[in-house]
């Protein structure tokens, strides 16, 4: 395979991944109200003065870093005259675009791990197993990097896995933390291949990214142990020291932001730890049995899970950091009483990289020559073809199986609800909007107009301030609004917007 062809295939994989994320951003459902009420709503409230304040923001449980990031784009968008819904859709799309870094990371990590699977022989002088041939880490002339096979398949799985595409447009804290963590893991994988005297700059980046991942999502702190163990296993003590030093930079940044916004250094961090770990109050939002995540993962990929897990375990020699991270994450979060699917989302990239590495290695491995070095026999060639066919079918089965089981989310909010809000915002005669269930919307951002948008109460139907009602089609709110003189004007996917007629 030439470098040009590998680049071309990688380009196609990236393009397919991006198209999938565009579709998820525009057509996919909204998966968590938290994505909108914890990341976007505080920023929108600061920019426009309109918005709701959830309890986390009253109790100081959240850092302002992520709302600050979103708020900058919102302030810029408002200055340019963009509508709230346009800004919101662009934020969803931008996260989809940023999540493509995970595809790139899968390519790099998959290639790196696949290089660890190449043949080795015992070294009598050093007492270790050493690789038969050196392996280039990058494109050299017309030759692709060694291990490109694993990289391509890992990137393909990461780009096309439907669940990840769907989640990758939600502005949840889990998403940026996951992106940063996976990129850091890919860099660590390559770092372990370098000469111990090389890679200072890369160690700085890894330390910053790992720390940022934990600051964005404290629960991911346990996963930082694996890269540290990985580097320690390769005796890269200098890298570990650099990593520890640079990790302080994001920590300091988050601490300062907390001081400026909540009045105390690490105020939101401490409040989060107190609420979730010391007081265990997350359980107030529901508890699930310890096997809940396993059952959920099985339900998402009943056929494909075995196709991913088996190769990942077969290539444990190279994939152990990813397999251990996936298993460790599941084990750790299963001990917590309150469970949500998004907490386990990080399981998938780890598994996809581990499985993709080995599947790629198997897929492109050539038929061994016959005894005497002659060309492989016809039977062997056919067996190799059959093996390749089975692997490709397995990869496609993972994607199809994943797509077939995209249902029964913790929250599944039709995008039409957001479109309904945006439609009302475009009406010149709109003076107020009643929402049947305001948490199942794009919050105040998607409405985006300086007009009242409040939770539906039957008594409010007689208040002429409210010109529109958004409700589920055929719901009690729909029928009450019709009786009060509202008529449907927007009807999409079981969502209806009614307008006051008299």
């Amino acid at each position: 395979m030439t470098a040009r062809r590998v680049r071309f295939i990688l380009g196609i994989v990236l393009a397919v991944g991006f198209v999938g994320r565009i579709m998820a951003a525009r057509l996919g459902p909204v998966l968590y109200p938290d994505a909108y009420f914890q990341s976007l709503e505080p920023a929108w409230t600061r920019v426009t003065g309109e918005g709701m304040k959830t309890w986390e923001w009253t109790d100081g449980l959240r850092s302002w870093v992520l709302p600050g990031y979103h708020g900058a784009w919102m302030a810029l968008g408002r200055s340019l005259g963009l509508r709230g819904s346009t800004i919101g859709e662009m934020i969803r799309l931008s996260w989809g675009l940023l999540s493509m870094f995970m595809v790139w990371a899968a390519w790099r990590a998959g290639a790196s791990c696949a290089r660890q699977l190449r043949p080795r022989h015992p070294c009598c002088a050093c007492g270790h197993l050493v690789f038969d041939q050196p392996a280039p880490m990058g494109f050299v002339g017309d030759a692709p990097p060694a291990g490109w096979q694993g990289g391509l398949v890992a990137a393909f799985l990461m780009a096309t896995f439907p669940l990840l595409a769907l989640y990758s447009v939600e502005p949840l804290t889990e998403l940026p933390s996951m992106i940063v963590l996976i990129v850091a893991f890919a860099l660590v994988a390559e770092q372990t291949e370098l000469d111990p005297r090389e890679g200072k700059g890369r160690a700085v980046v890894i330390g910053t990214l790992l720390s940022l991942a934990v600051c964005l999502r404290i629960v991911n702190g346990a996963l930082v142990l694996l890269p540290a163990i990985w580097l320690a296993a390769r005796h890269r003590w200098r890298d570990l020291a650099i990593l520890a030093g640079t990790a302080l930079v994001p920590v300091a940044l988050f601490g300062i932001v907390d001081r400026l916004t909540w009045g105390h250094f690490f105020g939101s961090f401490l409040a989060f730890i107190k609420f979730n770990i010391i007081q265990g109050r997350a359980a107030e939002f529901g508890t699930e049995p310890a096997t809940w995540y396993l059952a959920g993962i099985w339900a998402r990929l009943p056929i494909g899970l075995a196709i991913l897990v088996l190769p990942a375990i077969c290539g444990l020699r190279a994939t152990w950091p990813f397999v251990l991270s996936a298993a460790g994450l599941l084990g750790y979060i299963s001990t917590q009483a309150h469970k949500e699917e998004r907490f386990a989302l990080l399981f998938w990239p780890f598994l996809l990289i581990a499985a993709g590495t080995v599947l790629g290695h198997w897929l492109f491995s050539r038929a061994p020559p016959s005894n005497g070095g002659a060309a492989p026999s016809r039977l062997r060639r056919w067996l190799t073809r059959a093996k390749q066919l089975v692997i490709v079918a397995g990869m496609l089965a993972v994607v199809v199986d994943g797509a077939r089981h995209l249902r029964q989310f913790d929250f599944d909010i039709s995008h039409a609800r957001l479109d309904g809000q945006a439609w009302v915002a475009r009406q010149k005669n709109a003076t107020g909007l009643l929402l049947d269930w305001h948490f199942y919307t794009g919050a105040t951002v998607w409405f985006g107009r300086d007009l009242p948008q409040v939770k539906y109460e039957p008594e409010l139907l007689s208040n002429r301030l409210f010109s529109h009602v958004l409700a589920g089609k055929g719901s009690s709110v729909d029928s009450q609004a019709r009786r009060a003189g509202f008529v449907p004007k927007f009807d999409r996917h079981a969502i209806v917007v009614l307008e006051r007629s008299r």
Partner: protein, 233 residues
């Protein structure tokens, strides 16, 4: 209609069809050659392009962040103009006249949002929700009611909490101003109000709005107002 055209197009022999296809491909290639060339040149300088793009994004985000940090959290409700102001004396701030309401803050709990828009909804029998309430952290709550053009103001009617809920919640201390009036009239200062519906004479001409500044009855207590009417012409 479609079939004859279809037949005409497909009637020539394979050789002619192939020739046509070659011509089309070469024409497309000629037309797109400049685009391909530009793409090739961009690809050759991909690192420079990536750095430039990243630079633009960083500058754009920094600009937005500067705007975000400088932004003052003032809630605004700007109603569209559905009716023109009548000729005689009327309530200048009825929402249908295109009133803009600005408030220092509002009680924005998801389950009981006391939106500032309720101040001008004209409801005679409001529910407990249909009032403006300030944020508990707001120590100096204020309200501005703005209209288009210059108007003559005669009086302000404030329907306090006491009209619907406990009289203890009625705002006792507040002051009223006309905005941008010429000559500038003195503010009306109220220090011990107990009336649930308070009527205040506030005479000014050429005003573009009215501002009411409240002092919470007790530290941390929110201000609750059901309706404000500004009468004038």
């Amino acid at each position: 209609m479609l079939l004859p055209r279809f037949a005409t197009w497909y009637s020539p022999s394979w050789a002619i069809r192939l020739r046509r296809l070659t011509l089309v491909i070469s024409a497309v290639a000629q037309r797109t050659a400049p685009v391909v060339s530009v793409v090739g040149r961009v690809w050759a300088r991909r690192r420079t392009v990536a750095f430039a793009l990243a630079g633009v994004l960083v500058i754009a985000w920094s600009t937005g962040f500067f705007l975000f940090v400088r932004r003052q959290a003032v809630a605004v409700v700007a109603f569209p103009t559905l009716e023109a102001h009548p000729a005689g004396e009327h309530n200048l701030v009825a929402y249908r006249l295109g009133t803009t309401v600005r408030v220092s803050s509002f009680f924005r709990d998801p389950f009981s949002q006391h939106n500032p828009g309720y101040l001008v909804d004209g409801r005679t029998n409001p529910t407990l929700v249909e009032k403006w309430a300030s944020d508990p952290g707001d120590r100096h709550p204020w309200v501005e009611l703005l209209w288009s053009g210059k108007r003559q103001v005669r009086s302000v009617v404030i329907r306090h909490a006491g009209t619907v809920e406990s009289a203890d919640f009625t705002a006792q201390e507040y002051s009223l101003w006309c905005l941008q009036a010429r000559p500038v009239p003195p503010p009306v200062v109220v220090t011990d109000n107990h009336a649930p519906v308070a009527v205040h004479a506030l005479a000014c001409s050429g005003a573009r709005g009215v501002r009411v500044r409240f002092v919470p009855n007790r530290p941390g207590q929110i201000v609750r107002i059901f309706e404000i009417e500004v009468w004038g012409r």
